[in-house]
Subunit: 316 residues, 2 copies
Amino acid sequence: MNTNRRGATGLVVGIDIGGTKVQGVLLGPDDAVLGSVLLPTTRGVEGVVATAAKAVRALTDEAQSGRGGALIDVGIGVPGVVDPANGTVAHAVNLGFPAELTPLAQLLSEELDGARVKMENDLNVAALGAAHVVGGPVDLAFLGLGTGLAAGLLLDGRLRRGAFGAAGEIGHIQFVADGPMCACGQRGCLELYASGASLEARWPGPCDVPASAALFAAASAGDPAAIALRDEFARAVAAAVRILVLTTDVARVVLGGGVSELGAPLRDAVVRALEGPAAGSDFLASMRIGQRVHLAPRGVPLAAIGAALVGRAVER
Amino acid sequence: MNTNRRGATGLVVGIDIGGTKVQGVLLGPDDAVLGSVLLPTTRGVEGVVATAAKAVRALTDEAQSGRGGALIDVGIGVPGVVDPANGTVAHAVNLGFPAELTPLAQLLSEELDGARVKMENDLNVAALGAAHVVGGPVDLAFLGLGTGLAAGLLLDGRLRRGAFGAAGEIGHIQFVADGPMCACGQRGCLELYASGASLEARWPGPCDVPASAALFAAASAGDPAAIALRDEFARAVAAAVRILVLTTDVARVVLGGGVSELGAPLRDAVVRALEGPAAGSDFLASMRIGQRVHLAPRGVPLAAIGAALVGRAVER
C-alpha cells in the first residue's frame, strides 16, 4: 500500500467491463481523455480481473514510470448489482460470475499493487459519463439498448441506486400481457421488445451487421415486415422512455448501448412513436417527452469516462 | 409583514387541500399533533384561499392570541404542478383553478396578514407525512389510490419533484393496449384500472358506502363478479407498485388515498397479485416487492402533517 502516493498524479483510469468488451480510458487532471484501450473480455472472476488489470496497465505504465511509480486511481463499471461502499458485485451473470458477492474492487486493487479501485454499476457510470460529455442539466436517464434493456438514473445530479441497487431495471416491467417468456421468468417483459438482443432474435441477418442496422436499412428500403418490426421496436423503446419520464420526470433521456449506433434514424423513430399518443393527449403533450430524448454521442466511451469520474471521486 | 415575530412560537400549521375536503393540523415544537380540522372545499381560487384561511384560523386563533399575535408558519399541499420556490400551482383542475399559474402561497399569505406560507404537491406532502409517521427508512413512495392514481417520491430522503414537477404521474402509463379512453386523451391508462374512481365507475353501490368497500365485501361474500373485479384491481395496483420499484427501487411503497381505508384486505390482495408473477421469476422474487408494500396508517392525516413539515422547513 502506498497511501501517500495516491491520487498525486491527477490522472485517473476508468474501465467499463462488458460481457464481450472491456473499454478503458485515461483521464487527465482536466478530465480530457489522454488514452483509451479496448480489449475482449475474458469471462469469470479471474479472467475479468486479469483483463481489467491489463487495460489499466496499458493506459498507465508510461504515465506511472514517468511519475516515479505513483499509483493511479481506478474506477470500474460492472453489469450487476454493485455495492459501491464495499466494492462488491452480485448478479453479474453476463460476466460469468458466481451468484454470491464478488469483492471485485479489492481483487483488482490487489492485482494493481494496492491502487485505489472504486466500483459502480455499468449503467450508472454511463449516466455519469453522459452527463459529463453531453453537458446540460445533470438530470438524466441513460437508457441502455444493448443485450438487455435498463437505465442508469442521475436525478438532481445524484445517482439513484435504490434500496437493492436495482433502480432502472425497467426492462422487466411487463409490456405485453401473456407475451412470450422472458429469461427472468416473467412473460412479455419490455426487454423482449426493446433490446438489441430482441432484434437479433427477430431479424437475424448477416453476421457482420448488427440486426438493428440490417432492420432499419430494410425498413428504409421499404420492406413491409421490416417497417412493422422497426415501428414495434420504436413503440417499445418509447414505452420505456414514457415509463422513465412519467415515474421520475427526468429532464433528459439519453439513448445508449449498441443499438444507439443507429444514430438519428433511431431517435427519429422513437420520437415518432412518442408523438403519436401525445397528439391526442394534452397531458402527454405538456410533458414534452419527445424533446427529452437524446442520442449518446457516437464513438465516445461514455461508460469508461463515467467510471473514471467514479474513480476520481474523493468520498469513498 | 411581521418578520421578527415569525416562527417564534415553534408551532406550525399544515393544510392538505383536496378536491372535496381541506384537512388541517397544528403541530407543536416536537411535531406532535395539537389540533386538527376538516372542512369542505369551496372550489375556485377565492374559495380555496378562503377555506384554507378558515382552517388556519380555526387552528391558530387561540395559540396566536396567547402569544401576542405572533404569526404561525403555514405549509400547504395542493393537487397540481407546484413550484415550491415561487409558491405557484398549475394544472390544479380538481380545485377548479384556471389553467395558468396561480400564486396560491402569496394569496393565502396576504389573507393571513403576511404569515409565511410554503407550498408543495399533495402527493409529496403525503410522502413526507408517511415518512414522518411510519418511521423507518426515509426512502419511500406514497401511492395515492384516490380519484386518480399517482405517487409522491421521497428518494434517499429527498423529494423527487422532477423536471416539470410531474414525477410520480404513473397513472398515465399505459396498462392495457387499446383499452378504454382516459380523460388524459390516451387509452388504457393504469389509472382506469387502479384508482378509486375506476371502482366507483365499475362497481356502483349504495351512495353511503365507497365502491371499494362494497366491492371487497361482495368479493369476501363469494360474488364471482366481485372477486374478478377485485383481483383485476389488485393486479393493476400491483403493476403500479412494480413500475415504481423496478424504476426507482424505492425501499417502501405506502398505499394511501381513500381506497387504502380498506386496510389489510387491500394490502393482502395487492401482495397476492405481486407474488403470482414473482413465484416464477427468481429476479422478481429477489426484489421482494411484496415485502415493500405497507398501508398508510388509518385515520392519520399524513398529507396535512407533511404539509406542516414543509411549512416548518427553514430553507425557503
